[in-house]
């Protein structure tokens, strides 16, 4: 079996807060990412996603546990790890005094490319990310979203086998986001392993082959996107159209403890934890002659995510 692109075992990262209290940002997590996979690390703010990425990219060292990137130990072989990765960090990391073109050139230089090689490779990236018009503009004069686009584009100039994207599409407009997602898919097809963190679950659902959901530094669920969705314990999404939406009906539906409920005039959207409850709701509405139309499908990753986080909070 081919070795994993990333392998993490019992990884722990502790921080001293105010010199006394110890905060466990990462609490004994373990997972593997296969080569060529797009792997999503999902979780709310402060869950430990970025800390995990920082350890994997050698920005910080773990308190205990092991992490290997492309077979190299992040602590003992940090330079070898850095030779195999590139990362879009959470901050807008561009050289603001330099033009977009110079940003590409310096990035290429740091990664061992000649000027000619960088120029050749950046041609494709400039096209892909629509940067032709801003190539000679200083990064400081660009909008936040555009700076982010330059930052992400840089990563695709070099041929690193593993790419980390920490909230890469944050602050981008729809066009930029679509371009970035398309580029990520394209690069993955070339065999690159991509690890991304995101709050946007629709994005993760669209992109990721596998995901791990992390909360309070612990893995709440992991597996392929399909497997994690199944962990939603048969959650269902119900879209209903009723004759009349009343306060009483809304209260009655809430008693079934939906994961999510949204109402708009006579339209109701519900995410229900199990099959039986979904059928019970349909049967009640039907028997009262209120139901005009309904659609039932499996819940989205977002619904599963919320349910799993709820469960992890309850268990803690």
């Amino acid at each position: 079996m081919e070795p994993a692109a990333i392998s993490i075992q019992n990884l722990v990262k502790e921080y001293q807060r105010n010199g006394k209290e110890t905060l466990r940002a990462v609490d004994g997590i373990s997972f593997e990412v296969r080569k060529g996979q797009i792997f999503g690390l999902l979780g709310p703010n402060g869950a430990g996603k970025s800390t995990t990425i920082k350890i994997l990219t050698t920005l910080i060292q773990p308190t205990s546990g092991t992490a290997f990137v492309n077979g190299f130990d992040v602590v003992k072989q940090s330079i070898d790890v850095r030779k195999n990765i590139c990362i879009v960090i959470q901050e807008n990391a561009v050289d603001t005094y330099l033009t977009v073109k110079s940003n590409f050139l310096t990035f290429g230089k740091f990664h061992g490319l000649t000027r000619k090689e960088t120029e050749t490779r950046s041609g494709r990236v400039i096209e892909l990310f629509g940067l032709k018009d801003v190539l000679n503009q200083r990064a400081m004069d660009l909008s936040g979203g555009m700076k982010r686009r330059v930052q992400v584009a840089k990563m695709f100039i070099v041929d690193k086998p593993i790419v980390f994207l920490d909230e890469a599409t944050t602050g981008m407009d729809t066009f930029n986001k679509r371009a970035t997602i398309a580029a990520i898919k394209e690069e993955s097809k070339q065999g690159r392993t991509i690890v991304l963190t995101t709050h946007m679950l629709d994005e993760a659902e669209e992109l990721c082959d596998a995901i791990a959901i992390i909360n309070h530094g612990k893995i709440v669920a992991s597996g392929t996107t399909g497997e994690v969705k199944k962990m939603g314990l048969e959650m269902f999404y119900l879209s209903l159209k009723v004759k009349e939406m009343t306060k009483e009906l809304e209260e009655e539906l809430k008693q079934h403890q939906p994961v999510k409920m949204e109402t708009k005039e006579s339209d109701i959207e519900l995410t229900i934890r199990d099959h039986d409850t979904a059928l019970k709701i349909l049967s009640i509405l039907h028997s009262r002659g209120l139901l005009l139309n309904f659609e039932m499908s499996s819940a989205s990753l977002e619904d599963v995510f919320v349910a799993l986080l709820d469960r992890s909070v309850t268990e803690t």
């Binding site: 960090i89 901050e91 110079s102 310096t106 230089k109």
Partner: protein, 253 residues
Amino acid sequence: MNQILAVLYRDSLIRLTSLTWFFFDLAVPLLYLLMFGVGFDKAVGMGIMTSGIAVSYNEFFLAGVLAMSCFGSAINQAYGFFHDRETGIFYEFLTYPMTRGQYLLGKVIFQCLMSVVQAVLTLIAAVVLLHVPVRIDFLPFTIVAVVVGIAGWFFALSIFAFRIHRNDTFNTFINVLYFVLMFVSSMFYPLDAVPVWLKYAAYLNPVTWHTDVLRYCTIGIGDPSIVIMESIGFVLFLFAGFYFAVRTLKKAV
């Protein structure tokens, strides 16, 4: 080596984006020498005694200007980490395929190259405009002293730039440090005439070691045995600075 060159390449591109910045980088020590030095030279009149020899203030102050510009350039270069941290590029650099030492060496080599040009211009101005009898035979030693000086101060100040995360705190700290180190040293006045406590305090100050070495190299004033000790002291300061700067950089995130 390629990584060090990449740091040099990046810093030179940034510097070239602002010619005003470039100009002032080179011109500040000249202005200091020509304005403050000349003014004081006239005020002091007959000159001052140092190591039992009478010299003009311009001659005496030349080494001070070189030492001061090394310290000032090191502050600017160390301060650059704040800008890089604010833009986020600092953290990205730390994931590039280079060691922390290579990153720091690249930064310091760039600043050393700038400072050597700066020092040569200052020496030319001192000879041509102020008629300071600079020892041309010692020019290579002067250049080495400038390079060692800038590196020593850059590494030392980088430690604080990595540890202090607030811009305003760093500025306040540097202003106080600058004030104390400059005036408790042989930069502006000879230590022969100062109170004993100040003299001893000044001899514990690396600015004094650096200034004395530069003074010996530029105008040949100073006790060679003390200058050699001070040189050794400054080189040790440089290596300690490098060691601790790399260590601190490893924990800078």
